[in-house]
């Protein structure tokens, strides 16, 4: 078994090193693009060793002072770190497909017993940075206890450390296997991916939406008093009961069991420490038992499946924009299909609507005013403006990677009798249609929910979005040509993201392109104090942007032409 584990470890090490060393770049620009992509992992790798040493040091410090009567803040920090590591064990396999560790079909072809396969599969979790850091921290704590002369406590802490690491490994293995089981059915996987992409960014706003409506100071005081009275009577509300149950369940998390074992052992309560340690060992065992079950399920039927997906084709050759060639429209339609038929693409349309919905609820609950700290949203026009900005930014992952997302489809495009301008404009039209659809919906819904504001300013907003997009579109096309990144648009995390540099520069580009529109609006409303003039001035600015984009698209087409070989060969 050891030989097999060593072979797996060597294979993973070589895969990592080869991905950093042998990029297969064709020229300097591609080498630069790939180097920027690898900066993150290289920095993370470089920081891993000092971080581990630092954490081991902190662990030793915490362990040394833990037998004393005072509260050790560093130990509390390590407790949080272990909790975060547990979170990463769940999210890691989901968000970082590059860390995918199970190609079960390939593994099944090897003459390895399934038991050993599970061990090899689980052992790969030791390569996760959060597990490595957890190992350093818990080892440090045991060393600290030993230095403080608490030998039994050190031994118990060491056992607890081994158990929590095994629990983290079990959790990672279980989550990775479950994820594969879910994603094995492509349709189910796509649905889950879409839900996840949409839900995660919204979670941050949930407390504000679900929380109580804004109250006066008197109302808050009365509520506090009522709560205290209920507590005095020994009653508790449904919320309080929920919190109490959640806190009790939280106490059974492996990270909490580790903290309890170590703390009790350090304070000489060895019997209770052993009980906590047994609980921790049991939780690690349960996680591995479920891990083995799910991994066995995966091995029994490792192939992916999906009902063949049919799609409506009636609209594909219909609809024209005056002055736009059929070839350009075909490119735009292909791009729209790609967007509307992948989870990441659908999220581009749906996430701005979700953000709009959240802000709309906040505004309705707070009598039309939402104070975000740095800015206050006080009417429908403000809501529409925020939503329009979200709509523009939502298309960024596609807009700044508009060629690479086609994958082999781009070869079909490059083999077709298409002018380079037709291709670029086609892509820009598709992205523009998406921005327009979501912006128009959000603006109309904002106006219906919270009418008010000068009608001219509503028109001004739509023109401002159009001007910003027209000005930025050629730039994002050029960024897509220089920084392409092959992506899997069914993926949830990093796998579907555009190139980091393209994303950042694209964001700055959109921000810069919106500045003149903001200034035009401020001049009309602030300086001239004539809101009615805003759409007229903005129309003029839109005209300038439209004409400029014609010239800028020529420049972007030149950039594309220089990079077409690299784009055509990138997969």
């Amino acid at each position: 078994m050891l030989r097999i584990l060593r072979a797996f470890a060597w294979m993973r090490w070589r895969v990592l090193m080869n991905s950093l060393e042998r990029t297969g770049a064709r020229d300097t620009v591609e080498r630069l693009s790939l180097a920027i992509e690898q900066i993150g992992p290289i920095i993370a790798l470089a920081l891993l060793l000092p971080s581990a040493i630092g954490l081991a040091g902190l662990g030793t410090y915490a362990g040394y002072w833990l037998p004393g009567p005072d509260r050790v803040v560093v130990f509390d920090a390590l407790r949080v770190l272990l909790l975060i590591a547990s979170g990463f064990c769940v999210l890691g396999p989901l968000l970082m497909p590059s860390m995918e560790r199970t190609n079960t079909v390939r593994l099944l072809l090897l003459p390895i017993p399934r038991r050993t396969l599970y061990v090899a599969h689980a052992a790969s979790a030791f390569g996760d940075p959060w597990v490595l850091l957890a190992v350093a921290a818990v080892t440090g704590v045991s060393a600290g206890l030993l230095l403080a002369g608490a030998v039994v406590a050190a031994a118990l802490a060491l056992l607890a450390g081994a158990s929590i690491v095994m629990a983290l490994v079990g959790l990672t293995t279980l989550c990775a296997s479950l994820l594969h089981l879910v994603f094995r059915d492509r349709r189910r996987g796509e649905l889950l991916a879409l839900i996840f992409i949409l839900v995660v960014p919204i979670l941050g706003l949930l407390p504000s939406v679900m929380g109580p409506q804004s109250q006066t100071r008197e109302e808050r005081r009365a509520e506090r008093q009522a709560r205290a009275e209920r507590r005095a009577r020994g009653e508790e509300s449904r919320n309080e009961r929920g919190i109490r149950i959640a806190l009790r369940a939280y106490g059974f998390l492996p990270s909490e069991l580790y903290v309890r074992t170590t703390r009790e052992a350090a304070h000489g309560e060895h019997r209770t420490a052993v009980a906590s340690l047994a609980g921790l060992g049991l939780s690690a065992g349960i996680l591995h038992a479920f891990g083995i079950l799910s991994f066995s399920g995966l091995l029994r039927s490792p192939g992916s499946s999906a009902r063949r997906q049919a799609a409506r084709t009636t609209w594909f050759d219909r609809g024209r924009i005056p002055g736009v060639s059929r070839a350009t429209m075909a490119v735009a339609r292909a791009q729209l299909c790609l967007t509307l038929r992948t989870p990441r693409g659908r999220s581009m349309l749906l996430s701005p609507l979700l953000v709009f919905g959240m802000f709309a609820i906040l505004l309705r609950r707070n009598a039309g005013v939402f104070d975000a700290g740095f800015a206050t949203l006080s009417n429908g026009l403000g809501l529409a403006t925020v939503s329009a900005g979200t709509c523009l930014l939502a298309i960024l992952p596609f807009a700044v990677n508009q060629f690479a997302i086609d994958r082999t489809g781009l070869t079909l495009v490059l083999l077709s009798p298409l002018g380079r301008r037709e291709l670029l404009v086609g892509k820009a039209i598709a992205n523009g249609v998406l921005v327009s659809a979501s912006t128009l919906f959000c603006a109309a819904a904002s106006w219906m929910l919270l009418p008010g504001g000068h009608p001219a300013l509503w028109i001004n907003l739509l023109l401002a979005v159009a001007a910003t997009y027209a000005l930025a579109a050629p730039g994002v096309a050029a960024l897509s040509a220089v920084f392409p990144r092959p992506v899997d648009l069914n993926s949830i995390g990093r796998g579907s993201n555009a190139h980091g540099a393209a994303n950042l520069l694209g964001l700055l580009l959109f921000a810069a392109a919106s500045v003149p529109s903001i200034l035009v609006t401020l001049v009309a409303t602030g300086l001239l104090r004539r809101p009615v003039l805003a759409p007229i001035l903005m129309l003029g600015w839109f005209g300038i942007c439209w004409l400029s984009s014609g010239v800028l698209f020529e420049a972007a087409a030149l950039v594309f032409d220089r990079r077409r070989e690299n784009l055509g060969l990138q997969r």
């Binding site: 799609a311 070839a327 082999t408 070869t411 079909l412």
Partner: protein, 234 residues
């Protein structure tokens, strides 16, 4: 690639052969405009593919090695896309698409996304997309790989009738029997260099009467000089 001096007669069925990694696909990529050669000149149907790229692409059809398909389009949408970028009349395009899907046995999969296709189905669709605009020259990179026997037979017949009507085919394949049966001319590339080209019979006669294309090919690429490796441990 180095020193490729290739001439493909119009109306010929040209088999382009070579060992793995010899440069067959790279040659096709250069000829179809996916790669720009560092030096040299090319003429395709009398046009310069670098200077008149769009004009050349209007006249050629390509089945590249990676099949060049949009994953998220259906078979019918893929063909519609090709028809639209070639500016074909919509009624004609629809009729041709129906014929091609029928020929490739993809009628029932017309509204299925390409991502759900098997490798063989993708290959057939890629071939259908290449044929749809009725090109005068076809570049086919391993077109029979992964295709079932029935479809393979139909495609071979179709390609032969395409050549009989004056079309030209530039085909790479490792299945030498197919090349031998279909091709009128062959070119052989090894290590990035063209080692032979011309009508099959002439080349066979030149290679002291090789009895089959396989024998001729092995002689040309120097396969017969390689010392045999005996894997006694098998």
């Amino acid at each position: 690639m180095d020193g490729i001096d290739l001439a493909v007669p119009t109306g010929s069925f040209f088999g382009f052969l070579g060992p793995n990694g010899a440069g067959k696909s790279t040659t096709i990529k250069c000829l179809t405009g996916l790669l720009r050669p560092s030096s040299g000149t090319m003429r395709i149907l009398g046009l310069d593919p670098l200077a008149d790229a769009v004009a050349v692409k209007r006249r050629i059809g390509v089945v590249p090695e990676d099949l060049a398909l949009f994953d998220r389009l259906t078979a019918l949408e893929t063909l519609t896309f090709v028809a639209e970028v070639h500016g074909l009349d919509r009624t004609i395009a629809r009729d041709r698409a129906t014929d091609l899907l029928q020929l490739m046995d993809l009628e029932s999969a017309g509204s299925t996304l390409v991502t759900d296709f098997s490798h063989g189905m993708r290959k057939k669709l890629s071939l259908a997309a290449a044929l749809l605009p009725a090109p005068r020259l076809l570049f086919l990179d391993e077109p029979f790989e992964g295709i079932d026997a029935v479809a393979s037979r139909q495609i071979k017949d179709l390609l032969q009738s395409f050549v009989a009507r004056g079309g030209t085919i530039f085909l790479t394949s490792h299945i030498l029997e197919i090349v031998e049966r279909l091709s009128t001319h062959i070119g052989v590339i090894a290590g990035g260099r063209l080692v032979a080209q011309g009508p099959i019979e002439e080349l066979r006669a030149g290679a002291s009467g090789a009895s089959s294309l396989e024998e001729l090919f092995i002689t040309l690429v120097g396969g017969d000089t390689r010392a045999p490796v005996a894997l006694d441990w098998i």
